[in-house]
Assembly symmetry: C2
Homo-oligomer: 207 residues x 2
């Protein structure tokens, strides 16, 4: 299949959100124009994005809301739930464990680890913080789908290497470092400082 761009995937996720809203509002069908308007894009973009995966609409009618939502969940791999492990029980890691939005969207945090003895044993949302020394053993015994890295930058590569050894194929990285992973592992970086700096650039340039 053709290579799908990151921005396409992002938009598909957004379309799914909007379809779920339309469904709650009791809408039966929706046009590419309506979806586009809701998401700040164009109807042609919506149709192109969808056409990369098949032909889900009816000419003259639009798309059936529930049916298209199902197709998108299938495409995005959201037909099942996913198990997450969070490494790093600092402010960010514990916030992620407590964040209810993940569970609502099919992501279950099943374990949290830290290397600080003062933090090991601490309970967050009913989950006991475990020692990162046991990470490899625990993950072998109890595999997860996605690893979340919330440790300081200088420890991030060691942790991601360990996760990869445990067979994890998807990593969300909050540490501000460029991590190296094998080709068959998906890696996404979230770097809040970079986002803030995009804002300072806008503030400085446009004024």
């Amino acid at each position: 299949m053709r290579r799908i761009s990151d921005s396409t995937i992002r938009r598909l996720s957004l379309y799914l959100r909007f379809l779920e809203e339309f469904e709650r509002d009791g809408e039966e069908t929706v046009s590419s124009e309506a979806l586009a308007h809701r998401g700040g894009t164009t109807s042609a973009q919506v149709r192109k994005d969808l056409s990369l995966f098949g032909s889900f609409g009816k000419r003259g009618l639009g798309y059936r809301v529930h049916e298209l939502a199902e197709h998108l969940r299938e495409i995005l791999g959201l037909s099942r739930r996913f198990r997450l492990v969070v490494v790093g029980a600092g402010a960010l890691g514990t916030a992620l464990v407590q964040h209810s939005g993940f569970r609502e969207r099919g992501f279950d945090v099943v374990a949290i680890f830290d290397n600080d003895p003062a933090k090991v044993g601490g309970k967050w949302d009913g989950l006991r913080t475990r020692d990162v020394a046991d990470l490899e053993r625990d993950l072998q015994a109890n595999p997860v789908d996605i690893g979340v890295i919330a440790v300081p930058g200088d420890q991030a590569q060691v942790i991601v290497d360990c996760l990869v050894r445990c067979g994890i194929k998807a990593v969300l990285n909050f540490a501000p470092s460029q991590l190296t992973v094998p080709d068959d592992v998906a890696l996404k970086n979230v770097n809040l400082s970079l986002d803030l700096e995009a804002l300072t650039f806008a503030l400085t340039a446009l004024q």
Copy 2:
């Protein structure tokens, strides 16, 4: 000046990180090739990105590390510190207040607000949580540069409208909703569920 793309800004921020590392390592000069290698891009890309803002290198020599870092800080607007307000004292909001990485990079969280009486008065990193009812008055008295939205999705638009009324020109939004702001306000969305869904797509497609 020509319109600068988001990805260019993102790369410039990364180059700045790498330059700071090179500087710590005592390097005097650096080539576009070295910067590119460190950041997973190409030397042509580095030179194009920089050339959008001026001509900072010497042919045959490369770029002076400290000098280029200064130029980048200037371009990104990082020659001064920025004041942030966090709205929403849930797990995420309080994690952001406590996050030391921001302060290190020039961003000071100077206030945190919530609408839950149980949370108002709570101290985080020495900062007393205030009532969101006072948000507008407090911000008029004590302006900030950047607003950070860490409230549930259904309250985000009300909050951003309030921030805009207070004259804030840059907003970082963690709520999973599409916000509307005037043209002269910079808005950046961080939606962790969208990032996770990019990973589930990769997990499902590439296996």
